[in-house]
């Protein structure tokens, strides 16, 4: 990466921003609160790169979605909440906004009231607050594929599968090493609940932000002799955890990473200490999937690829961006089928998301078989019952080591509803019905 390539990117981004202000016929617009500099730039460039690559594929290959061109512009947030809100205020007046995709818990939290007033969907794929799964209370927020509770359940189910069944968890010792932030603490109650349900011993240990020192935590872990350590990390905490585990003699193949501890950026800095480490994911990595191949051929072949380093094509964050692109575009397509092949309002796209049902056959038709499993969003279930799989790092690449695993949604739903109903009561929000969800603002 050079100074001049940055300059070129900046020029292109500026052109997009300027271009976005001009209204074209039948154009659906995605405002992107991206982060390409700052501490989390590696994740931001991968995710937003994949998202833009997919939007470009639809424009180049299909001429848009049923004739509606996809447009976007970026505003740099550096992953900071105040900058994210500022970008939101700057871009929200652009016409034809389909959905917001900030990929930041903090920015998403700050936007919930705003996007609810604006009636535009907010997508928090694989993250966000768990109770936004309940569409009865949060009509415009969509933690697609995986909320933190489902992630927890998926990880426990995977450990159970390694031990020979859920009944074999009894008496096992599991340590959860979590990031000292609201994100890290989100799953504390659900791990406790699952521990009581399945009878495993549980310790939850906090690592202070940013997590570049973990000697004390891992010595404590060593003293406890756990069977597994679940790593609920973020950023620099992840490679440091793997390296410190090695220093204290804990085997990497008994560490299970959560969905924000599963990227190449988390394991490469750890070197050999990461070999054998396993992590949950909703989307497999690699380039072998037809949709990724098409992006390579059509978008990168046309010189419009968004990643500056082509070796990152098919990486965890890039593929997550592609899957996010698929879900956004299909929601628009589904909404068009009801409201017409034109530029849709945010509320119409919300309706599209609430009918986003992609079964494995449809996923295969989209060229994403085995990239992700399926999704089944409804007006009251905004997560959409995403399946998870597990990948193991071999020192060079991730390899899938499990089937697609279903979290225990039935167990989780009452807890989610309890939380969302408490939120509704606190905020004076009327609980939606199916009829409310079908009432759509079209202008």
């Amino acid at each position: 990466m050079t100074f001049f390539s940055h300059l070129r990117k900046a020029a292109i981004a500026t052109a997009f921003v300027l271009g976005a202000t001009a209204v074209h016929a039948e154009e659906q617009y995605f405002p992107l609160q991206s982060y390409r500099v700052g501490p989390y730039a590696a994740g931001g460039t991968g995710f937003f790169g994949g998202f833009i690559d997919y939007l470009n594929l639809i424009n180049i290959r299909d001429g848009g979605v049923n004739g509606a061109k996809l447009a976007w512009s970026e505003g740099e947030t550096q992953y900071e909440v105040e900058k994210g809100v500022e970008v939101y205020e700057r871009l929200k007046s652009n016409p034809g906004i389909a959905a917001w995709n900030p990929l930041s818990v903090g920015i998403a939290y700050a936007m919930i009231d705003r996007i609810t007033d604006d009636k535009v969907p907010l997508i928090t794929i694989n993250h966000g607050r768990t109770d936004t799964t309940d569409g009865r209370v949060f009509p415009y927020v969509f933690p697609l594929l995986l909320n933190p509770y489902s992630e927890t359940s998926g990880i426990v189910n995977y450990i159970a599968s390694k031990e020979g069944g859920l009944d074999k968890l009894k008496g096992k010792n599991i340590v959860v090493l979590y990031h000292g932030s609201p994100y890290g603490k989100e799953t504390i109650p659900i791990y406790e609940l699952l521990s009581q349900k399945y009878g495993f011993e549980l310790s939850q240990i906090e690592v202070p932000h940013p997590g570049n020192e973990q000697q004390a935590q891992w010595l404590t872990i060593r003293r406890e002799h756990p069977d597994y350590v679940v790593l609920r990390g973020w950023g620099v905490m992840n490679p440091v955890a793997l390296k410190t585990a090695q220093k204290t003699g804990f085997p990497a193949d008994h560490i299970i990473g959560n969905v924000w501890s599963n990227s190449e950026e988390d394991v490469i800095p750890a070197g050999d200490a990461a070999k054998g480490y396993t992590a949950i994911t909703t989307q497999a990595s690699g380039e072998r999937y037809p949709v990724v191949q098409e992006i390579v051929k059509t978008v990168y072949g046309d010189g419009k690829g968004n990643l500056e380093d082509n070796s990152r094509i098919g990486s965890v964050y890039h593929n997550l961006g592609i899957v996010n692109g698929i879900l956004n575009v299909e929601a628009v397509r589904i909404a068009q089928a009801k409201f017409g092949n034109r530029t849709l309002t945010g509320d119409e796209v919300r309706w599209g998301f609430e009918h986003l049902k992609l079964d494995p056959a449809r996923v295969e038709a989209l060229g994403a078989k085995d990239l992700f499993h399926s999704i089944n969003v409804s007006w009251d279930n905004h997560e959409g019952d995403g399946y998870v799989t597990f990948q193991q790092w071999d020192g060079k690449k991730w390899n899938v080591v499990s089937d697609w695993i279903a979290p225990d949604w039935k167990l989780l739903r009452p807890i989610i509803e309890k939380s969302s109903e408490a939120y509704a009561k606190e905020k004076g929000i009327k609980i939606r019905t199916a009829e409310d969800a079908d009432a759509v603002v079209s202008n």
Binding site: M1, T2, F3, H6, R36, V37, G38, P39, Y40, A41, A42, T45, G180, I205, E206, V207, P208, H209, P210, N212, E213, Q215, A216, Q217, L219, T220, R222, R223, G235, V236, P239, V240, K243, Q246, K247, T248, G249, E265, I268, P269, A270, G271, A273, E308, D309, R312
Partner: protein, 298 residues
């Protein structure tokens, strides 16, 4: 206390001391500049990032290890003299707060420049040092941390020798004692400041390589200054020995606190415990354990 518990205490203590040495590595860079110019260089963390990122980017482009090291050092020398020429010299005789704010701004500029030039990707840094632990009397010790401690010790010895037995070292000490008196006897302050920033750049390079091998070379490498600040408050801003002893005390006490006090207050306390300890020392000894007591006529 059982024998096993006793061993565990020792293990936590040793781990903490070795971590403390890593904090000292960063703190020494601050001390060098503070000693000679009275500036708290907040950009030291960014210099660590810049050095590590430059080195790893050169290695990844196929340049041999030793040559990359040499080039990076040359870059840090150039950076040191550039900072002196463009930031410090125009601000000479300004208040310490003005100079501090200048280094704060400098920190952002260096961070931005590092990402602009070398990109935002996270890099692994393999120094070829095996990091598997070895056992001594039932205690696991990290070979990497042990080597880092040896490197820090060598660097402190080298810097001490430099300060006490070379002409330029003597000039450094003269400037540290009294800038105006040093000027009066003909010492050239700009040259000395340029050289000391170069020395700080060298320390940043060493710290960057060792911390980079530990954490990976990434933007958050610059956050390690947060670990150095309580070390400086406790040990003193103007004492290399203070930086070493302060690092050891902070490293050991925060690890022991995390393990033995943490469970009673919900855990995750080592982030603030070091600052709490430094604050207590600040109340008792405002100039730190090894700092010079300043007496001013009022």
């Amino acid at each position: 206390m059982s024998y096993y518990d006793f061993l565990f205490v020792i293990e936590v203590l040793v781990g903490g001391l070795l971590s403390g040495v890593m904090y000292s590595l960063v703190a020494i860079g601050f001390v060098l500049i503070y000693k000679t110019s009275g500036v708290l260089n907040f950009a030291q963390g960014s210099m660590v990032l810049f050095a590590a990122l430059t080195f790893v980017s050169l290695v990844e482009r196929g340049i041999p290890f030793a040559l990359s090291l040499l080039i990076t050092f040359a870059v840090m020398v150039a950076l040191g003299f550039t900072i002196e020429r463009t930031v410090l010299r125009p601000l000479v005789n300004r208040s310490p707060m003005t100079l501090f704010m200048a280094t704060l701004g400098l920190s952002y500029i260096i961070e931005g420049a590092a990402q602009l030039i070398w990109g935002t990707q996270v890099h692994g840094l393999d120094l070829g040092i095996d990091d598997t632990p070895f056992e001594v009397g039932g205690i696991l010790i990290s070979s990497f941390d042990l080597l880092a401690a040896a490197i820090a010790a060598a660097m402190v010895a080298g810097l001490s020798a430099f300060f006490y037995w070379t002409r330029i070292g003597l000039a450094f000490r003269a400037v540290a004692d009294d800038q105006f008196a040093a000027l009066a006897v003909g010492l050239r302050l700009p040259r000395i400041w340029g050289t000391v920033w170069t020395a700080a750049g060298f320390v940043a390079l060493v710290a960057g390589l060792l911390w980079g091998a530990r954490l990976g070379v990434r933007f958050s490498l610059s956050l390690i200054v947060l670990k150095a600040l309580p070390v400086l408050v406790l040990g003193a801003f103007d004492s290399i020995l203070g930086a070493i002893v302060g690092g050891l005390i902070i490293g050991a006490s925060e690890k022991l606190a995390e393990v033995y006090l943490g469970p009673f207050v919900g855990g995750g306390i080592e982030g603030w415990f070091a600052y709490a300890l430094a604050l207590v020392v600040l109340l008792v000894r405002p100039s730190g354990l090894f700092g010079q007591k300043t007496v001013e006529r009022v």
